[in-house]
């Protein structure tokens, strides 16, 4: 599912679009460019990894509107906003919508590349976390409610004896249950178990 990331470029100005495309290709990733928000939306697949370089002022749907739509649709693609003249209000709105950054035109190549790299890293991280949580979810779903109870207690750092007291079971029974749940979720240590639990909760 994590194929090569794609850099998407949306800008209505052709010269800028071409420059942005060449800059993206410099990083060795594939770049797709669009002249309008509508063109981008027609082609966009949220499952594909990558990032988006988005011009704020465009005829038709503006960059901010596109950003808002993506946020509403729950697409988590990192967005680098670029603008010919950003006023404070737009900048604030764009950042609250989760833009990685806002670059004011004209900007330098190094600036852009730095932000592109960070945006792609962020996307990779986000996707990994998402995958991890999906995986732990599926593993944890194998547990019975009683095993789940033990798991929660293990995560809080209780010893077998303490657990036995609070669950009103014998120490032996607790040990049994604990070994079974470790086997079920495929964890070899308590640390791994806790990681699984936290990634599921995120």
């Amino acid at each position: 599912m994590t194929a090569e990331p794609t850099i998407h470029v949306v800008d209505d100005d052709e010269a800028v679009r071409r420059a942005l495309t060449s800059a993206g290709e410099l990083l060795g990733h594939s770049v797709r460019s669009y002249a309008s928000a509508a063109e981008f939306l027609a082609d966009f697949d949220p499952a594909r990894s990558g990032c988006l370089v988005l011009d704020i002022k465009m005829p038709g749907m503006t960059g901010l509107e596109l950003q808002r739509k993506l946020a509403d649709d729950g697409a988590s693609i990192p967005v680098i906003m670029i603008s010919g003249h950003a006023d404070v209000r737009i900048a604030v709105e764009s950042m609250t919508l989760g833009a990685v950054t806002l670059l004011e035109k004209p900007f330098r190549l190094d600036e852009l590349l730095g932000h592109l790299r960070r945006a792609l890293e962020k996307d990779a991280r986000d996707r990994q976390a998402l995958e991890l949580s999906a995986e732990s979810e599926s593993r944890l779903s194998l547990l019975t409610p009683k095993e789940r109870e033990v798991l929660e207690l293990v995560a809080t750092g209780k010893t077998n004896k303490e657990m036995a007291e609070s669950l009103e079971l014998s120490v032996r029974a607790v040990e049994d249950r604990r070994a079974r749940l470790m086997r079920k979720v495929g964890a070899t240590s308590v640390a791994e178990l806790v990681r699984l639990l936290t990634s599921n909760r995120n």
């Binding site: 071409r18 420059a19 410099l26 004011e104 190549l109």
Partner: protein, 345 residues
């Protein structure tokens, strides 16, 4: 050219000598008022008052120098002189009051024009910033890219510095555009509670003459009493002025028959005030281009009026729209966040 004061003094001298020779009572003092009117046009302002005082003194002086003919009783003579002095001083007073009002109006209009120019500069700068920053961004990126590519195939330092220079200069041009915008924005607005209806009335007063000339009737429907909004009164007045002026111009240039009305109304919503200007003219073509900078349908227009108006409204936290009407004609309205509902000034 003879100065108004010189003329006024000459007139005073003539009137005084005639007054000395002829037993005309009140009538002989009447021409003094013309001298006062003349002197009122002079600069500095106190000259008008000074000439009026001089005329009064001379009027009294005549009474002392020349005895009226024996058949007139003394009280009549005095009453006549007092009437003359009254006429002179009233002329002076009214003249001075009128002059003050004119000056206030002129100062106000100059202020409006000044604010208009500043806002226009801001708009032009914003337009330029957008138009120029696009190609500048492309230049800067392409130069950087070229430098990068050249760095892989050649080690000619001259080529690399040249490309670096291009990118640097593009960045510099961007910085210049940005600083112009900052400068234009610095003239930014005052922030005070303003009574919308007062502002609206001021705008209407400035346009009454133009409307009358164009055969257009102005109608008012101001329903928000003394409700206030926060912002710059001069700018808001300019917005209303612009919208109404557009309406009047549209009617003035239209051969249509029927009612020629421009209506200004204010309306209070729960948390906004809506100001609407409606005209019975031919309506608007290309509604989506209306607010664009440099778009105009007037022969001598710059295409900035509506763009400026909208940016003023938006700077005040409102929105401006133009709706079509069934009867034809245009309806422009804008909102302003309500500050204080009808609580007096």
């Amino acid at each position: 050219m003879i100065s108004p004061v010189g003329l006024a003094l000459a007139l005073v001298a003539i009137v005084f000598s005639v007054d000395l020779c002829l037993p005309l009572g009140v009538a002989s003092a009447v021409p003094y008022t013309f001298a006062v009117l003349l002197a009122l046009a002079a600069r500095p302002h106190w000259l008008g008052a000074a000439v009026a005082v001089l005329c009064c003194v001379l009027t009294l002086l005549k009474m002392m120098i020349v005895d009226e003919r024996g058949n007139t009783e003394l009280w009549k003579v005095i009453a006549n002189r007092c009437l003359a002095i009254f006429a002179i001083s009233m002329t002076a007073l009214l003249g001075i009051l009128r002059r003050r009002a004119e000056e206030r109006l002129r100062a106000h209009q100059a202020n409006l024009a000044h604010m208009g120019r500043l806002t226009m500069l801001g708009q032009v700068a914003a337009g330029l910033a957008h138009e120029l920053n696009q190609p500048l961004a492309a230049i800067s990126l392409h130069a950087d890219l070229a430098k990068h590519m050249a760095g892989q195939t050649t080690s000619d330092p001259k080529l690399l510095t040249t490309l670096e220079d291009i990118a640097n200069q593009a960045a510099r041009a961007g910085e210049i555009v940005r600083s112009i915008r900052r400068m234009a924005r610095k003239s930014d607005h005052r922030h005070e509670a303003i009574v919308v209806n007062d502002i609206a009335l001021r705008a209407v007063r400035s346009l009454e003459w133009f409307a009358w000339q164009s055969g257009v009737t102005l109608q008012l429907d101001l329903t928000v009493a003394d409700s206030t909004v926060l912002g710059d009164g001069t700018l808001i007045e300019q917005v209303i002025f612009n919208l109404m002026q557009n309406g009047i111009e549209a009617l003035a240039n239209s051969p249509m028959i029927g009612p020629r009305l421009v209506t200004l109304s204010t309306l209070a919503n729960p948390d906004t005030i809506i100001v609407t200007v409606r005209d019975t003219g031919p309506g608007v073509t290309m509604p989506n281009m209306l607010f664009e900078r440099f778009h105009t349908t007037k022969a001598d227009g710059l295409g900035l009026g509506l763009a400026i108006s909208r940016s003023i409204v938006e700077a005040h936290g409102g929105i401006m729209t133009c709706q079509p009407t069934k009867e034809g004609g245009a309806v422009f309205s804008f909102t302003l966040p309500l500050h204080d509902r009808s609580e007096g000034k």
